[in-house]
Subunit: 273 residues, 2 copies
């Protein structure tokens, strides 16, 4: 009997349509408060680009602007190659959903831009340093029965619960792995970049209404780094710089084995109160 | 006799075409090594969006992917409103140039996404701290006769020259102002986000071939903050996290008067050697 697919593979599964678009579904397994987890939307958009036969090179950057709520059910992703150079490609992707009102009108729910490139053996150096944290096995897995479904698709381990001990600043460090374990690939790396809880929850010590407006991912891992990482937990760190006028930013890092910086990420988030 | 327009206003000047696109020119005044300064390209794209009559709200985020070299001469910008909500709008913009080969074929040279939103009086807090630097008047303006034209459109003041004293890390701090002085607005703020010299120049103490692949700007200033800033120099700080496989990142901050964080910015840059 074949093993059931991993929930992540099920969530990012896409069907190629005759017109070149891709059909998928909003994933109940990765549901957040009022729609799918933003990381899974980013992963679906990236997966559509990875499936394009003309695509060459590996992801270098991905920006996803969350234009409106993603509803339950079907969605479509349209991709467009904007420019192809010798070693880089520029793509755009748009996620749309058809309104259930009986009409054929569709809404854009997310727009994305991505750069793919060929990595080369050149002078390389990591200037940032990984944060320190207790060993993975020494920390309990975060478990909140009332937390949204997507949190159960991750194994997150903090030294101190980000919600029970609001710190003076919003920085936090944690171990991050898919649950159940799954070998790391680019869609999973993109998705994990959104796993850092909204910094305003930490800073204020309470939940307030929030929604990511734009998510930015810079990929620093090549295929060899992904293979070396496999299903080993990553080390994540995140912090906010400013909360101002209803929008706050946060930046994060995802570190792998051998002090390898796999991705850096930024987002700007709408908030109320 | 009317005053000559500021070079920045000349550079971002656009003509609305009957088909809804905008016509502009690659700016010789802001020329970089092999094409216009990336910041001025970002400012042109933002300016096109600001000129759209349907646009409401102020810039919250802007991402520009530099798809190919911008040549001298004419360019066009096409804008599209992807989604309009009560308090946010999602736009895309594409910059194209027609090849001079006599054919009508055009190339995409840059693609951009932007979010506009309405800022509200809510709980606000700046978690980051501004860097320290000597007073503006105590530092000389950076002057390199061989440097590209765009550097003469800025008044940049460093405590130590980023090129003559390569530091152990790539962090640097400087005063930033348009030259001649010009009251700050969103296009100028976007442009200034690209003014930080490529970190690899500082880290390696030499020039190597580079090109920004993607530039990300988060705007934290509302209209009142821009008005308060006026033409006062901003304080900038930037650093790299990783140089790996031919791509490095850098992140920067632009601080204004009263310790106000006006913008945060990130970019990923292709490099060779």
């Amino acid at each position: 009997m074949p093993a059931a697919p991993h929930p992540f593979d099920e969530a990012i599964g896409l069907e190629a349509l005759p017109d070149g678009a891709f059909a998928g579904r909003a994933s109940p397994a990765y549901w957040n408060m009022v729609g799918p987890y933003g990381g899974i939307t980013a992963a679906q958009l990236l997966q559509a680009l990875l499936l394009r036969p003309e695509r060459h090179g590996d992801p270098v950057s991905l920006t996803v602007n969350f234009a409106g709520p993603v509803a339950e059910g079907r969605l479509q992703i349209r991709t467009q190659l904007m420019r192809s150079n010798r070693s880089t490609q520029h793509w755009t992707a748009t996620m749309v959903q058809t309104q259930d009102s009986g009409s054929d009108s569709e809404s854009v729910v997310a727009v994305a831009m991505a750069v793919f490139g060929t990595r080369r053996p050149v002078w390389s150096h990591t200037e940032a340093r990984p944060p320190s944290i207790a060993p993975h096995d020494a920390l309990p897995r975060l478990s909140h029965p009332q937390a949204p479904a997507f949190t159960r698709r991750y194994d997150l381990r903090f030294e101190r619960s980000p919600f029970e001990h609001p710190p003076a600043d919003s920085s936090s460090t944690c171990w991050i792995a898919d649950h159940p374990p799954r070998p790391l690939d680019y869609p999973a790396l993109a998705s994990a970049c959104d796993v850092f809880f909204p910094r305003i929850f930490l800073r204020r010590g309470k939940l307030v209404p929030v929604g990511t407006v734009s998510l930015n991912v810079y990929f620093h891992a090549d295929a060899a780094a992904l293979a070396e990482q496999g299903a080993t937990p990553m080390l994540g760190a995140a912090q906010c710089q400013i909360y101002e006028g209803g929008y706050f930013d946060q930046h994060g890092e995802l570190w792998g084995r051998s002090q390898r910086l796999l991705a850096t990420t930024h987002q700007i988030v709408w908030y109320r109160e």
